[in-house]
């Protein structure tokens, strides 16, 4: 009898889920109608969504509760759309604590992939700074820690590798931006067992296509593309011009999606990290990480079009 009752209760719950709960979730499911595309982290095989969330400038709002809540809404939309990787740094002012505030308000979303950086010229100060960053985020540990702008990387990398060996960190990386010190980046990629490299890559800044992206593929290093919109300057630059009619072939409804689809369609890129303060933008960005993506021929066409604007 008890077993039958259990079966009936399960059937009833299923019916309720189908009849009541699912329609209530319809707006959310519409958001994720097309699943966000993922790509594996080469060193582990763990899959990451092609679009993450940057926090430079946009999340540095101090203790302004109204702006903090706006950032939280951005994070909520990001997670709702299937996002995982959030990237910050101790160099970004209050951004880390604003991320921590949002995570607390959102009940610490399980899918979070916490990526932060160590940024100090003193190797001995690194562990203390990492601990301060962890407290700001309010996470038990980071998924990824990167040496910010290669600052004192010789001293910080051993610390990060040791943390990884002890199970207090899952991935180690380095970062640079806007084409700086690429020779040094390549040397580290070639000699150090890093999991991630973060570089600037967008439809106009493509220097990394020459050596860094191929090297990352050879060395099984994941690539995070920063400054996808040139810190916001790229969108107003291209928005003065009409989108090509063939943009619909790659599912790009806006210039932001056009640019993001270009970035994440490179097979060497693991994820791009646009930053925004607006929920509509984060939804637009996440929608760019869905099928279809441009193939090599289409990518050449996209570059030619933007360069001729």
């Amino acid at each position: 009898m008890e077993y039958e009752a259990l079966i009936k209760r399960r059937a009833m719950l299923r019916a309720l889920a189908a009849g009541v709960v699912l329609p209530a979730l319809a707006p959310f499911s519409a958001l994720r109608q097309t699943e966000v595309l993922t790509r594996p982290i080469p060193s582990s095989g763990e899959r990451l969504p092609l679009v993450g969330l940057g926090t430079w400038i946009t999340f540095n709002v101090g203790d302004d509760v109204e702006l903090r809540n706006e950032c939280t809404a951005v994070m909520q939309a990001f997670f709702a759309a299937g996002g995982r990787l959030i990237d910050s740094s101790p160099m970004y002012g209050s951004s880390q604590s604003v991320v921590g505030y949002g995570l607390t308000r959102l009940g610490r979303p399980a899918g979070l992939f916490a990526a932060d950086k160590v940024w100090t010229s003193s190797g001995s100060h690194g562990p203390q700074q990492i601990e301060e960053s962890r407290r700001h985020w309010g996470v038990p540990s980071f998924d990824l820690l990167q040496v910010h702008n290669l600052l004192a990387w010789e001293e910080h990398l051993p610390t990060l590798f040791e943390m990884k060996a002890r199970g207090r960190l899952r991935y180690v990386g380095i970062t640079t931006s806007e084409g700086r010190r690429h020779d040094e980046v390549e040397a580290i990629m070639a000699r150090q067992p890093i999991d991630f490299v973060q570089v600037t890559y967008n439809i106009l800044d493509r220097e990394v296509e020459e050596r860094i992206l191929p090297l990352a593929q050879d060395r099984k290093i994941a690539v995070i593309a920063n400054r996808p919109f040139r810190q916001g300057a790229l969108i107003p630059m291209v928005e003065r011009h009409p989108m090509p009619a063939w943009a619909s072939e790659i599912g790009a409804a806006t210039w932001a999606q056009f640019i993001l689809k270009f970035i994440v369609s490179h097979p060497g890129v693991t994820c791009a990290i646009p930053a925004t303060t607006q929920v509509t933008h984060v939804k637009e960005n996440m929608a760019a990480a869905t099928e279809p993506l441009p193939d090599a021929a289409m990518r050449r066409r996209m570059v030619a079009y933007v360069e001729n604007l």
Binding site: N60, V61, G62, D64, E66, L67, G93, T277
Partner: protein, 231 residues
């Protein structure tokens, strides 16, 4: 940072314009009605200028010293540093300027100010009046709410410009030690406003450049003590 030359001004801007202006608004809310007191102090200083004396100079130095220290703590340390960590390194400079004003005005009794009809004098009182009376109106003039106004004695920019104006009115030798930190701040705030693409950039930078240039071209006047004996 051996590749510093590859960075542009905007690379150093850590916050969005909206965050910056909301910070001013929230600061004004937090210290209200301090604005009435600080502007009252500014008008009081203006009233002291027509009759120069070392005693009045000391009173002005104390008032300005207090305002520099107050801004260092209330604005730069407790608020601005929250979105711009370099401000933590600027706070000691504001404290030093405060101490310099107090030391020069009270301990050394070397500060007296007077209204003059020459170019520097007109420029000095003009900059001071701009900072105390007109500067709060810049926000509505440039399309922002009055709540985001930068007020003398509450926000650094008008206070620094007022200080430059006052130093143009200083009697006696060139007050170079007192000019260094205001000049440095003008460079910092000018660069910030430029990166923010703020329409106030040209007013703030223009006032600062005029003040510094006029101070730099200043001829030596007779020693303050001798002049003050007549006051």
């Amino acid at each position: 940072m051996e590749d510093w030359w590859t960075y542009s001004l905007s690379d150093f801007l850590m916050f969005a314009p909206r965050t910056y202006y909301r910070m001013l608004e929230r600061h004004n809310e937090a210290v209200w009605p301090g604005q009435i007191i600080s502007v009252g102090m500014g008008l009081g200083i203006l009233a002291l200028l027509p009759r120069p004396s070392l005693r009045r100079g000391a009173i002005i130095a104390v008032a300005m010293g207090i305002l520099w220290a107050w801004i260092a703590w209330s604005f730069l340390w407790t608020r601005y540093a929250g979105i711009s960590w370099p401000m933590k390194y600027i706070v000691p400079l504001f404290v030093v300027e405060s101490l310099l004003l107090l030391w020069t005005g009270i301990v050394r009794r070397q500060l007296s100010f007077q209204l003059r009809s020459d170019t520097r004098g007109v420029l000095g009182v003009g900059l001071f009046a701009l900072a105390v009376i007109l500067y709060p109106m810049m926000a509505p003039i440039f399309g922002r709410p009055l709540q985001q106004a930068e007020v003398f004695g509450i926000a650094p920019d008008p206070t620094v410009i007022a200080t430059l104006g006052l130093l143009l009115l200083a009697d006696g030798g060139r007050p170079w030690p007192l000019l260094v930190i205001p000049t440095l701040w003008c460079l910092i705030t000018g660069a910030t406003l430029w990166a923010l693409q703020s329409p106030e950039t040209f007013v703030t930078l223009g006032a600062a450049i005029l003040g510094v240039a006029a101070a730099g071209s200043r001829r030596s006047l007779e020693p303050a003590r001798e002049r003050a004996k007549q006051g």
